[in-house]
């Protein structure tokens, strides 16, 4: 409100006339008083300068009319009090008459000049205000990321500037209008709206007591101002606001198009990676299964019993691998869809480790595997099956890249309120540059000759640990050999101790 008034172009001139004239009168009285005090030391002609100064001040401050009033009053006061004979409007001296005449002319001219200066200064202030307003609006527009934000900002700023309710309406495909943003409670007459829309004029259109502005080049919406402002400047400002908003709208639409395109591209890339992974990783084990079983059927008794058993064991192993792969795909889908619901419970890490090693058939003793978990390691508050799957995937990876007699270690320790679980192997290790990339989906070690990896395992491990607000990181194995995979899980506040042991 306050701003709406101060930026009125006629600012001070709009103040009541009597007040301006009163100030003019006061200034003349003050000047006269000063002149009385000084007229003993100053020549009479110089006193006129004192009056002129007063007139200049009044003109510059209060505008032309007050300036003229001050000029006439000053002329009369000067004449009455200081020219001889004093205290009459009669003038004796011809020179004094000339002085008075010049005084009047000078007062009028200088008052005029000062008033013009005053007006121009006002206009400059107004345009400065408008520019800063536009600038501020532009900044708000450029920071608006979404269509809704642009429209809200537009109606808010317009409503403030024009001190009026504002609404933005969007035409629907069925010819109905729907409101996209509004402030206050402007009733929008639909016929006028339709008429303004049909005219498609670039200029703001006043119809039915409202102002209609179009928004967008191939206009996308109409802006309706409830109480149209009188001044052309305000209308111009409203129009500039709409133009800026239209540019911002184009930008947000473009940005959301780009965003959609980017997501679509990523989805496409993921899909093709998944498909190529599917065809490779499902077919490889299937080739063994089909080859082995058909050999058994075809060759019958021609192959030795040992060989037949070997083929069947081969089949079984490959089928189990397929099962693991399918489990991974399912898990990945669940992680990807955010559908990983945690069924947390108190779980013993030992149980997770024994479950994971059993599933991979890594029996300590028969396999170079050592497990080192302190006996008093705290219980974990996790979804056991998911953490087990994460560990299975780490161990699967470790065994895949390990040399035949390579040692695999599982260790755990508590560090503050975190559980640290590490899996180490003596394989070729991972170059430091790839420590983060290995957790990406479908990433497989670049120089792995044996392409058994699906590129899903570590991504799933990361997803499952992350679902528990934990993290997993790759690093250098002990003694700079092999790989160390470290799972960090936050430890929950331990549950109350068991009563009555």
């Amino acid at each position: 409100m306050k701003q709406a008034q101060t930026h009125q172009p006629s600012g001070a001139l709009a103040m009541p006339h009597w007040k301006a004239y009163f100030i003019a009168l006061t200034s003349v009285i003050v000047t006269t008083g000063l002149a009385f005090m000084l007229h003993r030391v100053l020549p009479l002609a110089s006193l006129s300068l004192l009056f002129l100064t007063g007139i200049l001040i009044v003109s510059a401050r209060m505008g032309l009319r007050a300036g003229l009033a001050a000029s006439i009053l000053s002329f009369l006061a000067y004449n009455f009090f200081f020219t001889t004979p004093q205290y009459t409007f009669a003038v004796d001296d011809d020179g004094d008459i000339a002085t008075l005449l010049f005084f009047l002319i000078m007062a009028t001219i200088s008052g005029n000049l000062a008033a013009r200066m005053h007006r121009e200064m006002r206009q400059r202030q107004d345009s400065l205000h408008r520019i800063s307003k536009m600038f501020e609006f532009g900044r708000r527009m450029s920071s608006a990321a979404q269509t809704g934000q642009v429209l809200t900002a537009l109606v808010e700023e317009l409503a403030e500037e024009l001190d009026s309710p504002v609404a933005v309406l969007v035409p629907g495909e069925d010819g109905r209008w729907s409101e996209a943003a509004r402030t206050g409670s402007a009733v929008v007459p639909l016929e006028s709206l339709q008429e303004a829309w049909d005219r498609g004029s670039d200029e703001p259109l006043a119809l039915d007591g409202r102002l209609f502005l179009k928004l967008g080049a191939g206009p996308a919406a109409m802006v309706v101002v409830g109480r149209p402002p009188g001044q052309q400047e305000a209308q111009d400002l409203a129009r500039s606001f709409c133009d800026q908003a239209a540019i911002a709208l184009d930008r947000t639409l473009l940005a959301s198009d780009l965003d959609e395109a980017r997501v679509a591209t990523e989805r496409e890339q993921l899909r093709s990676a998944l498909l190529s992974s599917l065809s490779h990783d499902l077919r490889t084990p299937l080739a063994s299964v089909i080859g082995s079983t058909s050999s058994v059927l075809e060759c019958g008794t021609a192959i030795s019993e040992d060989d037949r058993n070997e083929l069947l064991r081969n089949t079984l192993e490959e089928a189990r691998r397929l099962d693991r792969y399918i489990q991974n795909l399912l898990d990945m889908t669940r992680i990807g869809q955010g559908g990983l619901s945690l069924d947390r419970n108190w779980v013993e890490l030992h149980d997770i480790v024994s479950g994971a090693t059993a599933r991979l058939d890594l029996v300590p003793g028969r396999f170079p595997l050592t497990v080192d978990i302190p006996p008093d390691f705290p219980l974990l508050w996790v979804h056991g099956a998911l953490i087990e799957q994460a560990l299975v995937n780490l161990l699967d990876n470790a065994t895949r890249y390990s040399p035949l007699d390579g040692h695999i270690g599982i260790t755990a320790r508590q560090q503050g309120d975190q559980a640290i679980i590490e899996v180490t192997d003596e394989g070729p290790g991972i170059p430091p540059g790839e420590w983060e990339k290995v957790f990406d989906m479908f990433y497989t070690a670049s120089d792995s000759g044996d392409s058994l990896g699906t590129g899903l395992g570590l991504a799933i491990c990361k997803g499952m640990v992350a679902a528990h607000a934990g993290s997993v990181a790759a690093g250098e194995g002990p003694g700079g050999k092999g790989t160390r995979m470290r799972i960090t899980l936050p430890l929950a506040q331990q549950a109350s101790p068991v009563p009555e042991r």
Binding site: Q327, N345, S354, V498, E500
Partner: protein, 230 residues
């Protein structure tokens, strides 16, 4: 002794086929059904000794079959379930299933589970004084426990837990079941009591927690005592 009769209720013909072949190779008499309703009728008409029940059937939910069956029969039941459905397994066990197999599974494991269930039912189980399994011995009268001949001193709850497990060797007991038996029905959600108790018991039995000889963990479901050698 009469040959044991096993009823398989499963809609996948290939799974029925390999089950039939391997069970018949071990001298079981096998009956098959691919529908829940028919399966229930066969249970009533033919009185099998054991039921293998798939939880995903075309005509009715396997859980429903189990529920109806339990209204009139305590026939041992092994349910077949898919992975990543721990809640389903627990629900089936709580509804009265005696054990579960996760698809895909190997036949040797299934045969072991069948043997455990049938042994449970054998007539010589007339409230024994001594429970035994794989070197573990519990005298119910003197409350003495020995492992490979060495005395093991157990606190009361540890003893109760071991007793419960020894009474059903090879059978999986759900967390809820064990908690209710030992702490009472009010505390059947407090799984951490059970975790801590199992940890203590394993230490006293000298059991390696990462490759347990006695107390095995069924992740997300419960515990079972390793069936031991027959």
């Amino acid at each position: 002794m009469n040959p044991t009769r096993v009823l398989i209720v499963e809609d996948e013909s290939r799974i029925r086929k390999f089950l039939r072949i391997s069970l018949e190779a071990h001298d079981y008499i096998v009956q098959e059904s691919r529908l829940g309703v028919e399966g229930l009728e066969l249970c009533a008409a033919r009185q099998p000794d054991l039921l293998i029940l798939d939880l995903g059937l075309p005509d009715m939910d396997g859980m429903q079959v189990l529920k109806r069956l339990r209204e009139w029969s305590d026939l041992p039941v092994i349910v077949l379930s898919v992975r990543a459905a721990e809640a389903e397994k627990v629900a089936a066990l709580d509804l009265g299933a005696n054990d579960y197999m996760t698809k895909p599974f190997g036949v040797s494991e299934l045969l072991a589970r069948i043997r455990v269930l049938l042994r449970d039912r054998s007539p010589d189980s007339t409230s024994p004084q001594v429970l035994e399994s794989d070197g573990l011995k519990m005298d119910l009268v003197t409350r003495e426990v020995t492992r490979d001949g060495q005395a093991v001193h157990l606190a009361r709850k540890e003893y109760d837990l071991l007793h419960l497990l020894l009474a059903h060797p090879g059978r999986v007991l759900t967390h809820r079941h064990i908690l209710t038996e030992i702490w009472g029905p009010d505390r059947n959600e407090e799984t951490h009591y059970l975790r801590v108790l199992v940890r203590q018991l394993r230490i006293k039995l000298g059991d390696d927690p990462t490759a347990p000889r006695y107390i095995q963990t069924a992740q997300g479901v419960g515990y079972r005592l390793a069936p031991g050698a027959d």
